[in-house]
Subunit: 346 residues, 2 copies
DNA sequence: TGACGAAATTGGAACGTTCCAATTATGAAG
DNA sequence: CTTCATAATTGGAACGTTCCAATTTCGTCA
C-alpha cells in the first residue's frame, strides 16, 4: 500500500529521456523541445509524480518559503495581517511558515531558529514585546532578509514597515476637539511599547496644540484587548472629572470601551465619543460603526510581503524603513450622527 | 559579507571528530561519549552552525513540518483554532505551514499541492465550502495523515474532528423555550454546508420536541460573519410575526445580530434573546456577554494537532471520526438576568 | 557533400545530512 | 597477557534534485 516515491529518474525512464531533461521541464526552461516537454509532462501526470522541494533547495540554496511570526494571532489585526501576507506570498509561489509567539520572547527565539533551520528565504516579524536589536542579530548576520512590521526595533539593521501612529492619533484627537470635547482620555495598550508611545505622543501633541492641558490621569493603560478596554473605561469613569471622549489604543480596546460604556447605561457615540485605531474589518459593521484610524492591516501585510519578496529577489538589499500613511475614517462612534444633526440645523 | 554555510563537516574538523559523530550528537544519541559531545557542541556554538533540515529530511523521509489550511483566517474562530494547533505543534518540535483559502477550492488545491511538495508529514484542514471527497483523494492515497476539522466530508477516508452541532443547537433552543420563547429564529450561515445543516436540524428537533411548529420563514441564512448577522436580523424583524429570540449560526453572526438589534433600539438580552455558537474569546467580555454553545476553538485546534501527531508517529493509522462534545454556556445575551429576577420572586 | 552554429540532450558531480556496516578503543574476566 | 563483550567512532553510500560541461542532433549555407 505504501508506494515508494516517484522521482525524476522514474519520469525520465518513462518518457525515454534523461533526468536532466526532466529537470529542465520542471523548471520551465525554454531549452527543451515542445514534443519532449509534452512527453515528460504526460509521464509526470501518469506516474503521479510530486516534486521534492527539499532535494531541490538542498542543491540550489534558495527555498520558496518565507516565515511570518506574529505576537498575537488571536487579535484580528494580526490575523488580517497574516491573511494579507499569505495572499501575495501564495501568488508568488511561496508558502509561509506561520508562528504565533503570544508575546513570549523565548518562543520567538525558538520559532525563528526553527525557521532558519528550515531554510526560509525571508522573514516577516511582528516582534514580541521587549524584543531587542541583539535578539535579531544572528538573523541579520546570516543575511536573511527581514521585514519588521507594526513594531519597529531601534538599532536593528533591518527593514521595517510601520504606520504613522503619531499623525493618526493627532488627527483623531483633533477631530474630537473640533466636536467640542475637552476632557479626552487615551485608553488601553501597554505603555512600554513603541506603538503606545507614538500614539500617546500624538494624543498629547494634539491636545497642547489646542491649548488643552494634558492630564496624566486620563492616560490609562491596559491589555490591548477587548477585555482591557472594559477595565480601562471603568477606571476612567471613576475619575472625579470624567472624560467625555476617548482615543483608544486599538480597535479591540475601543470595542471593549463601548461594552464598558453600555454596562453603565451610556450609549457610545451619543453619550461618549470613542475612536479606535487599526480599522479592523468589524469596525465598519459594528453598531455604532467605529470611527477609527485606518491602518489597513491586510494591505499592510501585502506591502510587507511585497517588500520582503523584493529584497529576496535582489539578494541583499539595504534596509528601508517605511512608515505607511494613515487616515481617520469617521463613522458613528465619535458622535458623527450628532454632527450631522447639527449640520442640518445650521 | 556573504559567509558560506557551515556544515557538519566543518564542525567535525573543528572538533576533531568525524561527521558521523557530529550527526549523532545532533540527534541526541546516547552512543556518544560525554566529553566528545561537549567538544562538538562547543564547535557548533563557535562556528554558528545552523542545522539544515532540507538535507536531513532528504535522507530520512520524514519532516518536522505539518500543514494547516483554513477556509477563513479572518474569522476569529479559525484564528483561534490555528493558535491551538500552533501551540502543540511547536512544543512537539514541529513547525506549521499555514495557508488561508478564503473558501476558494482552487486555492485550496494549490496550497495542498505546494505543501506536499515541501514534504509535510501531516495536514490539518478545515475544508473550503464545496470540497468533495475526490479533492482529497490524491492526498490520502499518498499516505499522508489528514485530519479534517470543523467540517467533515462524506466519503473521505480520513480522520475528522467535528463538534456535536446537533446536540448543541438543541440545548440552546431548549434553553430558549424554557425561558418562555415561542417564536425563535435561526439566523445566519450558508445553508449548503454540513455544519449549517446539523445546527439547523438541532434547532428544528428541539422545536418539534416542544410541540412548537417550525416556520421556514424564521430560518434565515446569510454570510457567517458579523455583517451577515446584521442583515439576517433585519430580515427577521420585517416579518409580520416577529421572533423574540434567535439561535445564531455562530458567534460572529450573533454579534452582528446584537448590532442590528441596537440599530432598531432593541437591547439584546433584555428585549430579544440571542444565543451564539462557538464561544470565541470575545463572547465572554462582550456586553451583554454572549450566551453561546461552546466548542472551544483553541482546544479543538489542540486536539486536532494531537490526533495528527499521533497518526504521524503511528505511521498509517486508520481514520477515526471524533465528534467533540459541546456545552451551552449561559451568559447575558439570552436574558439570563431576567431569569435570575424570576428566581428571586419565586 | 561538408562544415558549422544553434538547438536539444545528457552524464556525472555536488548539495548536507543520515544510516549502515565496519572498525577501533575500553574495560572486565579468565 | 589473552579474550571478549561493550562502548565509541568512523568512512562511504544514499536521498532527489540542479548545474555544468560535454555531447549529440539538426538545419542551413557554401
Amino acid at each position: 500500500m505504501v508506494k515508494e516515491r516517484v522521482t525524476v529518474i522514474d519520469i525520465a525512464r518513462a518518457a525515454g529521456v534523461s533526468k536532466s531533461t526532466v529537470s529542465l521541464v520542471l523548471q520551465g526552461s525554454s531549452l527543451v523541445n515542445e514534443a519532449t516537454r509534452a512527453k515528460v509532462n504526460a509521464a509526470i501526470r501518469d506516474l503521479g509524480y510530486v516534486y521534492n522541494r527539499s532535494a531541490a533547495n538542498l542543491r540550489q540554496s534558495t527555498s520558496k518559503i518565507i516565515g511570518i511570526v506574529v505576537n498575537d494571532l488571536t487579535n484580528s489585526f494580526f490575523a488580517e495581517l497574516a491573511v494579507g501576507v499569505d495572499a501575495v506570498v501564495q501568488s508568488a509561489g511561496f508558502v509561509q511558515f506561520l508562528a504565533n509567539t503570544g508575546e513570549k520572547i523565548e518562543r520567538q527565539r525558538e520559532v525563528v531558529a526553527s525557521m532558519r533551520e528550515h531554510g526560509v528565504s525571508g522573514l516577516i516579524v511582528s516582534p514580541a514585546r521587549g524584543t531587542e536589536a541583539v535578539d535579531l542579530a544572528p538573523l541579520v548576520e546570516s543575511g536573511i532578509p527581514v521585514v519588521l512590521v507594526v513594531r519597529d526595533i531601534a538599532g536593528a539593521a533591518v527593514s521595517s514597515l510601520t504606520s504613522d501612529n503619531h499623525a493618526g492619533a493627532m488627527a483623531a484627537v483633533r477631530h474630537l476637539i473640533e466636536r467640542g470635547h475637552q476632557r479626552i482620555a487615551f485608553l488601553g495598550g501597554f505603555p512600554d511599547t513603541a506603538v503606545f508611545e507614538a500614539r500617546m505622543r500624538g494624543y498629547r501633541d494634539a491636545l497642547t496644540e489646542a491649548g488643552i492641558p494634558v492630564s496624566d490621569a486620563l492616560i490609562i493603560g491596559s491589555a490591548p484587548s477587548r477585555a482591557g478596554g472594559v477595565t480601562a473605561v471603568e477606571q476612567a469613569m471613576m475619575l472625579a472629572d470624567r472624560p467625555t471622549a476617548a482615543l483608544c489604543f486599538n480597535d479591540a480596546v475601543a470595542f471593549g470601551v463601548c461594552d464598558g460604556l453600555r454596562a453603565r447605561r451610556l450609549e457610545p457615540g451619543a453619550d461618549f465619543a470613542v475612536i479606535g485605531f487599526d480599522d479592523v474589518i468589524e469596525a465598519k459593521t459594528a453598531v455604532p460603526a467605529l470611527t477609527t484610524v485606518s491602518v489597513d492591516p491586510q494591505g499592510m501585510g501585502q506591502r510587507a510581503a511585497e517588500l520582503l519578496l523584493k529584497q529576496i529577489k535582489a539578494g541583499k538589499a539595504e534596509p528601508e524603513a517605511i512608515v505607511g500613511s494613515v487616515r481617520l475614517v469617521v463613522r458613528q462612534s465619535c458622535g458623527a450622527a450628532v454632527e450631522r444633526k447639527r449640520e442640518v440645523l445650521a
